[in-house]
């Protein structure tokens, strides 16, 4: 149907503005968005439609959303939120092109993410995980990568999943265990995000370990799907003109977990996870640009170890006699060795010097000597 933009808009305005037509108007809006998104200069229009007809937002000042600088506030009640989630699930479950889906998803949640939209997004994704809705998870994975796995929005999504599936359930649901198979890309990015939440001295004063069930799930994922860490390397299917954000593998964050874990926990799952990480590193073939283990992540690990050793010094304990420290270094050295061999580390010399600054460990010494030449 060829209609002018204005008539399109007026059509909407005229027929669908009424609240008792929700969520029909949202469904229609989504359909129209598909055509609109293709054209470049319609972005404003797209945003308006999304705001008004999907999220039912209004600005407090005047009716012209374009001019408003204030944050739009959604007028949706709980029931409408629930309806919207259903609509979105259904919409994203329909067969169609990945590019279109991703474009819609990014339009909905890629920018202008208000706290309410964010909350809705979290619930949407949790629902998608529960229902194993693969296409939606695929788009969500793309979104996460584009937005950045360690940005507050991604972290919020990750935290939400942990709450929904780990903290408040007695037994880890099968759907979470199967997530790598349903949404590989999403699972990989989720791991990056969730790794950042725990055993991270940059986020919290003390090292808080992940919940046991989460650790077990992640370990199982890594053991069963060693190639999971490569998932992020697959190219994103983005709308034309979009620039793909670089990928990050979860290896660095999970490495921090296993290296620092002995300081706070004895669980054997860390041992399994560590072995899976080593195997994953061995299988990694880096293509140069992004490294699997960014230097700053490794530096973060060193820093945590250094502050631990400082505390040991305060209580006059020799790190050589401290079992926890020895275990940390053992794992660290093993990972560094494998990473160096498989070219996962860029500035080797710098790293080696940094490692030398730590209180000694026999294996670490061997590794450093082997690579100093």
């Amino acid at each position: 149907m060829s209609m002018s933009v204005d008539s399109n808009k007026s059509l909407l305005r005229k027929s669908d503005m009424k609240l008792d037509n929700y969520p029909t108007c949202a469904v229609e809006a989504l359909t129209r968005l598909e055509t609109l998104i293709a054209s470049r200069n319609k972005q404003n229009m797209v945003m308006q439609i999304i705001s008004e007809f999907i999220f039912l937002e209004r600005t407090s000042k005047d009716g012209d959303v374009r001019k408003s600088q204030a944050l739009p506030i959604s007028q949706m009640n709980l029931f409408q939120e629930f309806q919207l989630i259903i609509v979105l699930i259904e919409y994203f479950s329909r067969p169609g092109r990945d590019a279109t889906r991703n474009a819609i998803f990014l339009s909905l949640f890629g920018s202008h993410l208000t706290p309410q939209r964010s909350k809705l997004l979290c619930r949407l994704i949790s629902t998608a995980v529960s229902g194993s809705v693969a296409p939606l998870l695929s788009s969500a994975g793309t979104w996460m990568q584009q937005v950045g796995c360690k940005t507050p929005f991604s972290l919020e999504v990750a935290q939400n999943i942990v709450s929904d599936f780990i903290s408040y359930s007695r037994k880890t649901p099968e759907q979470l265990k199967q997530l790598p198979m349903v949404g590989t890309h999403f699972a990989a990015n989720f791991m990056v995000a969730v790794a950042d939440l725990y055993l991270n001295e940059q986020r919290s004063q003390t090292l808080n370990p992940p919940p046991d069930a989460l650790l077990d799930t992640i370990t199982e994922w890594m053991t069963e799907n060693v190639a999971l860490c490569l998932a992020s390397q697959q190219p994103l299917v983005l709308p034309a003109g979009a620039i793909a954000m670089p990928f990050t593998t979860p290896l660095a964050g999970l490495l921090r977990w296993v290296v620092l874990a002995p300081l706070v926990s004895n669980r054997s799952a860390y041992s399994n996870l560590h072995l899976s990480l080593l195997r994953a590193l061995q299988q990694l073939v880096t293509s140069g640009e992004s490294t699997a283990l960014p230097n700053q992540d490794l530096r973060q690990i060193v820093k945590s170890l250094q502050s631990y050793c400082a505390r040991l010094a305060e209580s006059n304990t020799d790190p050589k006699a401290d079992a926890a420290y020895q275990k940390c270094m053992e794992r660290f050295a093993q990972a560094v060795q494998i990473a160096l061999i498989t070219n996962c580390i860029t500035n080797q010399i710098q790293l080696l010097c940094l490692l030398e600054s730590l209180p000694p460990h026999k294996l670490m010494k061997i590794v450093i000597e082997a690579h100093k030449k």
Binding site: S271, H274, L275, I366
Partner: protein, 630 residues
Amino acid sequence: MSSHEENELYMVKEAQRLRKSDPCAAMAWIITAKTLYPNAFNLQYEAYLLERDGKNYEEAAKCFSVMASNFPNQHTELWQEINSLTNALRNENETTPEHEFYVKMYKHLTPEVQHNIFMHTINHSADNLERVYIYILMFNKFPKSAITQAPRLLEMLAEGMKTKPDLYQRILVKEVLPMIQNKPPELSPNLACRLYTSSLEFYLRQIMDESDTADAWKNIFKVLMICGQMMGWEPFLPFSKHVNQNVYWEKLVDILSGSPAGSSQVLFYATTLFIYSLHGYIRNCKLRIEDADVSHVLVEGFMEWSPEGDVSEVPSMEPPKFSLTTAISPELSKAFLHAAQCWQLLNTDQFQRDFSQLMLALPLAPWISRFLFDLAIYFGHRDEANKLMADMTTQSSLVQSLQILSLNLMQGSMTLQGFQCILKILSELPATQGQLLENMSLKGHRHMVFLPLTRSALVQYCVGAIISRLSCKVYEPNCPDRLLGDLLVLQQLNLLNDVLLTQQIFNLIKQRKSFNLRTLSTYIINIDLIEELSHIWNSQQEDNFELTSSPISSGTPTATTAAGGSQSRRIGTRGADKGARDEFRAITRQQIARCNENVITLLANFISQEHLMLAQHIFGISQPVETIVI
């Protein structure tokens, strides 16, 4: 120790420390260590152990392959694993988890590694038997390797047979030959012949132990074929129970005609055929009659004699015929003749030496000695036969007595020893009754007979032997009366045998008008004879036909003491009062009542009881008679 080795050791120890408590951590050590020292054996080995404990067959196989390929000759731990692996493969029926692991892991090894493991084990094992087993295992898994490696294995088997013949023969016959039978490799003739001889020995021992003889000959012929193929011989015939032995013989002659003198091909084929016939002969000498195994013995048959016959006739130089006395006589005679044929061929100059050496290796002594004896009597070589009698240690005394008697008959006269043998035979009669045989006598030609060891046949033979000695005496003047009576008793076995003789005896009785009363009342039970005697009694009323009782010989128990003491008794026809007639009638009635008695038992008793008298008749010894000691 260099610093590298120190570091290696340090890491291995860490892994070992954690192997049981935290296998993941142990593996982490090993993975790391392998990147630092990729060529260290102990790291590979530790990795292998970890995978083995974790039952990761594929990963374990990879480690194993690396070790087997890179460190073939060194480390004892590796050898232990290899031994465990080969052991597990050899005993694939065991189901312990350990065995299962090795069997599964083996499947993940590349064929090259699999093969190399076998070869290395073979090359390094000091134990011959172990190497043999590994070879067999390797051939099972890699049939193609059998073609090139089989000769080496066969040599090992031949070597092993020197110290443990039973074991190695069994391995050869049961395991190795079946593997190579479709494509036998080329072998040196020496080795192939040795292997054939060993297989033959194995199967013959089985046959002689009577343990599993069902397919023994089929297998022997198969082995012969295989060995023949290995030496490039013209193939013999495959074995079939239904094939007439003539066919085999003809094939042998065919091959013989096309072969150089003393060719081992002919030697082996002929030897096999010989043993086959021999076995057929020896085996069939036993037959089942009336629920018992009855042996058959080859003995001289009776020659028909007639008074008009030309005694000076030179006995034919042809070999004797075989008379069909029993159902299996044809088979026995055929087997015997075939064995004899082969024997003669193998004893010609070109084969004699090799053949006798071959025979030394085989456990056939009892069969051969029996065969040679029978062969000697067949050809009428009396002295040879006597000499060979001493070699036959497994004969029962019954058989021996029979054979001595037979030799007596062969030489045409009875010796004292022969007569004693008759008595011995009668004292050792078996329980099986059996039947009377036909065709025991032949006119004009020497003949052999297979005598079953039954009561009937043995008594028949003894009776026949005695009759053959006594019958000519009837035609001599002054033949004793007693002899006539005794001969009549003996003829009761088969009156139709020599009607002329019976007639002659009755003529003489009529002439002499006398018959022994005791003989009549003790031993004459045949209706025809009783009738004839009654007829004589009744028709000789005017002349005095007397039935007399001769004095009782010392040492013989008498059946009747009616005669009373040692007095002579007479009943005569002349002036026969009623008493005499009644007595005669009573006697005849008494004897007729006995007409269904077992003739065999009667005659056996007769000979035993009257042996002194009979000896007198045969040897012409006049009274007084010394007691003959049996």
